[in-house]
């Protein structure tokens, strides 16, 4: 009994550091006719929580606490009830699942941000939209097109490609140092590369107005030409070619084929990839004899891979860290889940007490260690849950803890494709595909693998991994694998 309580204490002690919620998540912006207002959120585990009072003030909701939970009276006259004990809400007789139960901090209640999109929005009356990836809440009938800009330099020409979804009227204006693309919209949901630091284009950033994109020109700017093409799935693509001064190099004719593959991919295809550079910060991972650190290799390869996939495939690519900083395994998985990634690739470098061990390996999750629960999730698509007021309704109930169970077959396919691509080009372990209960994969709600790119404890492999040539080869291998996996999926 004593030991059991000791064990319980030990478990509590490990949980304790996670208890004070941190406030390092970026705030949401609420866009409405009245302008922009911010809604701060804080992380509790992997869930973003916002103060219910803040939400109530922004959305003109009154909150009352009673035995059934938190009752939200919306301006439409409808009520939404949030359970205080579990991640459930009810609105208009429907049960809605939320990623976490509300938490109380002093007198204030904090609720998952998903409550805005899933529970409040359908009953709100006025149009209300939560766009988690771009951290926007859009209130009212606003025009907020998605704008994705990319940049590519070849020789004396730079090309800026701006994809606009849905198509929105716009004008391009130029002054001495900047092009400004002005959209007929209320705001932009924009992904812009920011500082580029090239001689023709120095930055692509948000402009002064609410619906403007500014392209800052570099010192070698000479002339430009802009053209519009239809993109896929009804999107518009604006292509701006920027040339260095004439005489230095004549402007080449526009290429017949547009450079990058257009990508507003059909549903079910690969739209977003999250790449996880393993370890980081205080947690340096494996270390080679010559001092090469795993955390540095993984970050370097991840950055190159992001550039390759974004530039050549036009697939949105997000890194779980883009600096040498410490982040938890849960946060890594959360980046993938919160961005609704279609693939999750965690990059690592291996170590062994035996210096002979060498070659790449690809891991995917093994479910056996997670028991019957995981097997059940793997088999079932959804569950019927009782609805307030009787009857049942099919909804998606996922134990986030084991979200990966539903994707295990796709993860196995992805692992095999990556392993095959490695084996064609680079040293690969005799047992290239492995399964293990890996912590960073188990909560990922999409096909997910962990790639061990080689052994830092093997001297030749350490030298290779820290060099440009091998890193470029690994990027090419992973790029090829993503292309093949995507093709196989179509």
């Amino acid at each position: 009994m004593f030991f059991r309580s000791l064990f319980a204490l030990a478990v509590l002690a490990t949980l304790q550091p996670a208890a004070p919620p941190r406030s390092d998540a970026a705030a949401y912006t609420l866009l409405s006719r009245e302008g922009r207002r911010t809604l701060p959120v804080r992380l509790a585990g992997s869930v973003e929580m916002a103060a219910l009072d803040d939400i109530a003030k922004l959305l003109n909701i009154t909150v009352r606490e009673d035995a059934g939970g938190l009752v939200l009276s919306l301006p439409s006259g409808q009520n939404v009830v949030l359970s205080t004990s579990q991640g459930l809400a009810s609105a208009g007789g429907r049960v809605i699942s939320l990623p976490a139960a509300p938490t109380r901090d002093g007198r204030a209640w904090f609720v998952p941000i998903e409550a805005v999109g899933r529970a409040i929005a359908p009953a709100y009356g006025t149009k209300l939209e939560l766009r988690k990836p771009s951290r926007l809440i859009i209130l009212g009938d606003l025009r907020v097109p998605q704008v994705v800009a990319r940049h590519e330099t070849t020789g004396s020409t730079a090309r800026v490609t701006v994809d606009i979804q849905p198509p929105t009227a716009h004008t391009v204006a130029q002054d001495a140092k900047t092009f400004t693309v002005r959209f007929e919209a209320d705001a932009l949901d924009a992904q812009l590369p920011g500082a580029v630091g090239r001689e023709l284009v120095s930055a692509i950033r948000a402009g002064e107005g609410a619906a403007e994109v500014a392209v800052d020109l570099g010192p070698r700017f000479g002339s430009f030409r802009s053209a519009e093409q239809p993109g896929e799935r009804g999107a518009t693509r604006l292509v701006i070619d920027i040339f260095s001064p004439s005489g230095e190099a004549p402007p080449p004719p526009p290429p017949v084929e547009p450079l990058p593959l257009p990508e507003f991919a059909p549903a079910g295809a690969v739209r977003t990839i999250v790449i996880d550079p393993g370890h980081g910060g205080d947690e340096r991972g494996a270390r080679g004899q010559a001092g090469t650190l795993e955390k540095d290799i993984t970050l370097s390869v991840a950055r190159r891979l992001k550039t390759a996939i974004e530039g050549r495939l036009g697939i949105r690519t997000i890194l779980t860290r883009d600096a040498d900083r410490t982040i938890t395994l849960d946060e890594r998985t959360a980046v993938a889940n919160n961005n609704k990634a279609d693939l999750f690739i965690s990059l690592h470098a291996n170590a062994s007490g035996r210096t002979a061990a060498a070659g790449a390996e690809v891991f995917y999750l093994s479910l056996a260690e997670y028991g019957e629960e995981a097997a059940r999730i793997a088999r079932s698509e959804s569950d019927a849950v009782p609805v307030f007021g009787g009857g049942t309704r099919e909804i998606e109930v996922i134990l986030w803890d084991m979200a990966q169970a539903r994707h295990i077959e796709r993860s196995a396919e992805l692992a095999k494709v990556i392993e095959a691509a490695f084996r064609e080009k680079l040293p690969t372990s005799p047992r290239g595909v492995q399964q293990a209960p890996l912590r960073v994969l188990v909560g990922a709600n999409m096909p997910a693998v962990l790639v061990e790119m080689g052994f830092l404890t093997n001297a030749p492999e350490e030298r290779a991994l820290s060099g440009d040539a091998r890193q470029a080869d690994i990027v090419q291998v992973l790029y090829d694998a993503v292309v093949r996996f995507r093709e196989a999926r179509r």
Binding site: H279, S352, F455
Partner: protein, 196 residues
């Protein structure tokens, strides 16, 4: 007549007592099934058994020469009378240096802090060296974890799952890879064929 009857009855009673003593005290000790209840049996302060000199053969796990797998090696381990105590002896032996030509999958300096059972789950509480001294890498982490898990679960049929604790606490992982939040079953896919 009555006197000789009483002697006979006394002798019979003495014989019965002897039988009871043999059946319930001597034999169980010798052929040792676990007399203690399985739930949370602490072994940290177990008194040295009188059977100290007896040893059993246990299968222990070390890193093979190719560094890819674990090999099974039979070693002598002190005999113990309870399952929990036997598990403790096995883990202690597993934490010692490996026999040539193998190497240990566990960082040098790692010690066993406590070991207790709950049902058929064993909780093996190791000192923090298991994590701080770990060189990193999925491979090394998998081999370290399954050396401990397999050593306990293979040799003791009463134990089906093993959870590793570090410094008295439940941990996420040892070095950032393998999920240690729940007990693990033995896993023989990481074993190469025995060398002898």
């Amino acid at each position: 007549m009555t006197r000789s009857r009483m002697i006979a009855a006394g002798a019979f009673a003495a014989f019965l007592l002897l039988c009871v003593w043999l059946l319930f005290i001597v034999l169980p000790r010798r052929y040792g099934s676990d007399p203690a209840p399985a739930a949370a049996a602490p072994v940290a302060a177990a008194a040295p058994a009188p059977v100290e000199a007896r040893r059993i053969k246990a299968t222990l796990y070390y890193v093979a020469e190719d560094g890819e797998r674990l090999v099974e090696v039979e070693r002598d381990v002190p005999y113990a009378t309870s399952t929990a105590e036997q598990a403790r002896r096995i883990v202690e032996e597993q934490l010692k240096a490996a026999p040539e030509p193998f190497v240990s999958a566990l960082p040098a300096g790692t010690t066993l802090r406590a070991l207790f059972l709950t049902g058929s789950d064993a909780y093996v509480d190791l000192s923090t060296e298991i994590a701080s001294g770990h060189p990193g890498g999925s491979r090394e982490e998998i081999l370290a974890v399954y050396a401990v898990v397999n050593a306990v679960a293979t040799n003791l049929p009463a134990i089906s799952r093993v959870q590793i604790l570090v410094g008295g606490r439940e941990v996420d992982t040892l070095a950032g890879h393998l999920d240690l939040r729940r007990p693990l079953q033995k896993n023989l896919t990481w074993i190469t064929a025995a060398p002898h």
